[in-house]
Subunit: 116 residues, 2 copies
């Protein structure tokens, strides 16, 4: 019980950072870009109409959320997708899936699930 609360709390911290990271279009775009393969910071910045420094900061947010893995390669930083934390966000959302998929089954499922 205590265990569960502690676990939830740390998950919360993760989820805060993850959802926050996903809440900006440039950062979501960056994730889409690296999903096509590793990209340098400049490559990631190119499509966006903000300064390179701004993009650099966005990438830091993604990195801090654990969504972007960066590897130094000479003077270039190769950014690649680290998707694992997304599964946490996905997992959180999954609990609500029944609520938009089938409204009637949803209630049943939920009640059963919560009273084992």
């Amino acid at each position: 019980m205590v265990n569960r609360m502690v676990e939830q709390q740390s998950d919360d911290l993760d989820l805060d950072a993850i959802f926050q990271a996903l809440a900006h279009p440039i950062r979501r775009a960056a994730l889409e870009q690296v999903a096509d393969g590793p990209k340098s910071v400049s490559e990631l910045a190119a499509p966006h109409d903000v300064s390179l420094a701004a993009v650099s900061k966005h990438l830091r947010v993604l990195e801090d959320a654990g969504l972007l893995a960066v590897e130094q390669d000479g003077r270039v930083r190769r950014c690649h997708l680290a998707a694992a934390p997304l599964s946490e966000a996905f997992g959180w959302l999954t609990r609500y899936r029944v609520f938009w998929e089938d409204r009637f089954d949803a209630l049943e499922d939920h009640l059963e699930e919560d009273t084992p």
Copy 2:
């Protein structure tokens, strides 16, 4: 093609608001609370260690993101879950599912998917 870009842009606005709404523990908790059935503002505020006014603002954020539907019932506001927009966030995440589920299949699937 143009259609897709326009669509994506409006989705972006939604996703910004949705992910932003999910990025705070009190707001996520509120959604969990209303998932158990409609709740008044006071009921939603009770478990949290902030003022009622603060919770009221959080609920407004959820409402603006379309995640909370509020219905006036006398002097009480009945808040109930509006899960539909969550499917948008879910949909966005789904594209990355393969990246954390099976790393090798992921690349294949992705490449196939992107080059029909």
